[in-house]
């Protein structure tokens, strides 16, 4: 009885505070942001992604414009990349050879006491700094991911939404066009186009983005076909909403789960496609670097110098995982019907119960 009293008391308190909070108007965006930030794994992943990106871009600096080819600077007689170069805080760059410090170029990173040393991720046989190379690789891979994610999501959503909402001839036309793109293997198309249009990250990202939207378009179309029959769409139409408003303000938020999950899957697929293409020698090609290209370049030294693979591999996995977690968090944040259970009920309690039962026997 006492417990019950206390429960209702806390409930009342909560209700009052909720009421006080809810007098102000909250937009959908605010609510989604709050819910997303409450999702621990997603938030941690977002921070990780941000940190990786930040370190990758600031450490070795970036090159803007130019052909990306290596040229010899006539003044200092050192190698340099063609284009406007913003230097970073890391003392080495990804294209020059340095003196090999450790035997065979092994990593100088020490965990206890923590000491990065001169070349924390190690060096290759020529003395190139692997840390700088991995950082440059992340830059390129990130560029590809962002471009593919953005382009293919926009294309997929727009094409899927239009054909699902308007149906009829436009739908048949767009879906047959989608079929045509689907039947061409992405890897082959990417390889051919990559070879034709040059091996830098921006062109590769755009090309992959232009061919990777098909699955998403199909899914969005299916969602729209079912959602357009719901009464709230009729209600909006009676209120005088235009087709565009109904598509983007009413139906799209309801299919956001499908869109976000697939966009994140696409992005993690993009990093893998990019690495495979680069590994095969069709994607980002030397003298520039991507994570896949590092692995491909050193593929004969797997036994002798494993550190050449550890770090690029680690970052590929970390980035792909983090993107998936962020997608999960976004989906939950957009779905107001999500229920959360207390930790003590559910799985842990089930295990306890199982253990108890086992003990009795």
């Amino acid at each position: 009885m006492a417990r019950k009293k206390k429960d209702t008391h806390t409930m009342l308190n909560q209700e009052i505070s909720i009421e006080a909070r809810q007098t102000e108007g909250l937009s959908l965006g605010t609510i989604v942001r709050r819910r997303f930030f409450a999702h621990k794994a997603a938030l941690a992943s977002l921070i990780t992604l941000g940190l990786i990106t930040l370190i990758a871009f600031t450490s070795v600096g970036v090159v803007i414009g130019g052909s990306g080819n290596l040229v010899t600077d006539p003044e200092t007689n050192r190698l340099a990349v063609d284009g406007f170069r913003i230097p970073g805080w890391w003392q080495f760059n990804w294209y020059e050879n340095y003196d090999v410090v450790n035997n065979g170029g092994a990593p100088t990173l020490q965990l206890w006491p923590l000491d990065p040393g001169l070349h924390p991720f190690g060096q290759d046989t020529l003395g190139k700094d692997i840390f700088a190379r991995v950082m440059r690789g992340i830059q390129q891979s990130m560029t590809v991911i962002v471009l593919v994610g953005f382009l293919s999501t926009v294309l997929g959503v727009v094409i899927g939404a239009i054909s699902g909402f308007l149906r009829g001839r436009i739908d048949s036309f767009l879906m047959r066009f989608t079929d045509v793109i689907i039947i061409i293997p992405t890897l082959v198309l990417g390889a051919v186009l990559g070879r034709t249009f040059g091996g830098n990250a921006v062109s590769l990202g755009v090309l992959l983005g232009l061919i990777a939207w098909t699955g998403l378009a199909r899914l969005v179309r299916a969602e729209f076909l079912s959602l357009r029959e719901r009464e709230f769409v009729d209600a909006a139409r009676v209120a005088g909403a235009s087709n565009l408003r109904i598509i983007f303000r009413h139906i799209l938020p309801n299919s956001i789960g499908v869109v976000v999950v697939n966009a994140t899957l696409l992005m993690s697929a993009a990093i893998l496609i990019e690495t495979s293409l680069s590994y095969l020698g069709f994607g980002i090609t030397a003298p520039d670097i991507s994570l896949g290209q590092i692995i491909s370049e050193y593929n004969e030294a797997f036994k002798t110098r494993p550190w050449l693979f550890w770090y690029p591999g680690l970052f590929i996995v970390a980035i792909a995982l983090a993107i998936n977690f962020v997608g999960d968090g976004l989906r939950d944040a957009f779905d107001p019907r999500q229920r959360r259970l207390p930790r003590t009920e559910g799985a842990i309690a089930d295990i306890k119960r199982l253990l108890n039962r086992g003990g009795k026997k």
């Binding site: 959908l28 709230f232 009676v238 259970l341």
Partner: protein
């Protein structure tokens, strides 16, 4: 001695849900027992815990729910029973008839397959042929006209009433000890409802099962049940025999609930001021309107409405009555411009809606509001309700502070707290959602309100309040209303005039009193006779009258 006979005995059953970090009580201290051949009705508003209590008997609570107390099924404890044991009990000893047979039956399997499946799950030794014989027997038992044909039909090939019969056949396939009927007739037309109620009564006697009937329809309770429980906010307020509670309710809430039931003919001669029709332009005028669903592929064109003519004057409520498929909703959708007309003319305050430019149509639409049938689907689930209400205002070009004020005003008007503007539809009850629907429809102060079965998804006391609210607002703002409903009692309560539809044709039209008290058309008479009356004695007399026919 008596309690030993009881098939199910619930004592101190409580159900809690985990919501936003604390346990919220959904039902507490529920006691009842049901003996073979008895019907126990659990009555209450939405959210009163009646369905939750019934589902806790089966262990079918949502993941965030927990049940406590004791439920004895012939002496066996069900709460805390293993999942395997509960699975064995479900369908065999306790069966459920759900509200909406279209969603409760699997659309990709035939009726026969689904009954055979239920049989074979519980009797693994039964052969396909035996199961089929038994299934046909069952379909025959629920009085389906052609059991063999029904056996091979898919759910969508049957009518609503036939689907509900098939659903009942599936539930009684294993001769359950206890049958839980969760709003078994809510989705059905009155004439079909009367048939299903007769069927349930016959079956109960033949199978000698105990029945728990969950409903909000007092007419159904009066017709079917022996004992009843009245629940509110998870607490049992009154228990007793149906006769006693109907004739002599002791609890105030029960009295209110009974008073809230709209009685056909109760709104006798309220002396509404006759609305002057001369020299007044009708708000809505339909002239010989034909509506056709165009042919699609091999499906031929379907004429949903034939030469319908209607007029509604300012401040008037026209009730449009008919069974499902009669075309009444189609007329409503045409009036708000969601469907095109094939021929004929529609005028809103003298402005035609047919063959006009898109801009003109938009202008006309500003004067129409619509309240949809299902408040669950008519509000965008991803939008806070404040945003949904404000949408017509936004599209009409109102600025932000103006919208905020108007939304507060509208929420006040439909008697919802202002804080609710940030809530999502799923956080509100059905009645609250429908209030939101009304608020949205009235956002632009329309001249015509189309209400498409606005209360058919709500239970009585909620329905009574929503109807009262609608009536008040209508009197205050004096808009014309096209009120579409299958419930004659509701129409009786609200309308000035009534039009009756059957198979796409308006068969009778006239003043409320003339239609309800003195119907001329055969169909209208049949419709009025089928309405269940919330009075056990009266209902008995009617049943007898039906039987002799």
């Amino acid at each position: 001695m008596e309690s030993q006979n009881a098939i199910i005995k619930a004592s101190e059953v409580s159900v809690d849900f985990w919501v936003d970090g604390s346990w919220v009580m959904a039902a507490s201290g529920v006691n009842f027992e049901v003996k073979p051949g008895e019907v126990l009705a659990i009555v209450g508003e939405s959210g009163s815990g009646k369905s939750t209590t019934a589902m806790s008997l089966l262990g079918l609570l949502p993941v965030n729910g927990r049940a406590s107390g004791s439920v004895l099924l012939q002496g066996e404890e069900l709460i805390g029973a293993s999942k395997k044991r509960l699975r064995e009990i479900r369908g065999k000893d306790i069966a459920v008839i759900f509200q909406e047979p279209m969603t409760a039956l699997n659309p990709v399997y035939t009726i026969g397959f689904q009954i055979v499946e239920a049989l074979q799950v519980h009797y693994p030794r039964m052969t396909k042929a035996q199961a089929k014989t038994r299934a046909l027997e069952l379909l025959n038992m629920v009085e389906l006209p052609d059991p063999e044909k029904a056996f091979n039909s898919y759910p969508h090939q049957l009518s609503g009433g036939q689907r509900q019969r098939a659903m009942i056949a599936q539930s009684i396939s294993c001769d359950p000890l206890l049958l839980i009927a969760d709003e078994p007739t809510t989705a059905l037309d009155v004439t079909v409802q009367a048939e299903i109620l007769d069927l349930l009564r016959n079956l109960k006697q033949r199978l000698n099962s105990a029945v728990i009937l969950i409903t909000h329809d007092m007419g159904v309770v009066a017709d079917l049940s022996d004992n009843m429980i009245v629940m509110k906010d998870g607490v049992v307020l009154e228990t007793g025999t149906t006769d006693k509670i109907f004739n002599d309710p002791s609890n105030q809430y029960t009295k209110d609930l009974l008073a809230a039931v709209p009685h056909l003919g109760a709104a006798q001669a309220q002396g509404r001021a006759a609305i002057a029709r001369e020299n007044v332009q009708p708000t809505l005028r339909l002239e010989a309107v034909d509506i056709e669903y165009p042919k699609r592929g091999k499906v031929p064109a379907f004429k949903a409405v034939q030469s319908a003519s209607l007029e509604i004057y300012p401040g008037e409520v026209l009730g449009l009555v008919g069974e499902s498929g009669s075309g009444k909703t189609t007329i409503g959708r045409v009036v708000v411009g969601l469907l095109p007309v094939k021929s004929g003319n529609i005028e809103i305050s003298g402005k035609s809606m047919v063959n006009v430019s898109k801009a003109d149509l938009m202008e006309v639409r500003r004067n129409i509001g619509i309240v949809f049938q299902d408040p669950g689907s008519s509000l965008n689930p991803r939008w806070p309700i404040g945003q949904s209400i404000a949408e017509p205002l936004l599209l009409a070009g109102q600025n932000e502070p103006g919208r905020t004020n108007r939304v507060s005003e509208l929420l006040d008007m439909v008697e919802l707290p202002k804080e609710y503007r940030n809530r999502y539809p799923h956080e509100l009850s059905g009645g609250q959602r429908q209030r939101v629907g009304i608020a949205r429809a009235l956002a632009l102060s329309p001249k015509l309100l189309v209400a498409d079965e606005p209360t058919s998804a709500l239970d009585v006391s909620v329905q009574a309040r929503v109807l009262e609210l609608l009536q008040e607002i209508q009197k205050e703002l004096q808009f014309a209303t096209l009120f579409i409903s299958h419930d004659l009692a509701v129409v009786d309560l609200l309308s000035d005039r009534i039009a009756v539809m059957q198979h796409g044709v308006i068969v009778e039209q006239g003043d409320r009193d003339q239609i309800l008290r003195n119907p001329l058309h055969e169909y209208t008479k049949k419709l009025i006779a089928a309405v269940p009356v919330p009075d056990p004695a009266e209902q008995k007399a009617r049943r007898a009258a039906r039987a002799t026919h």
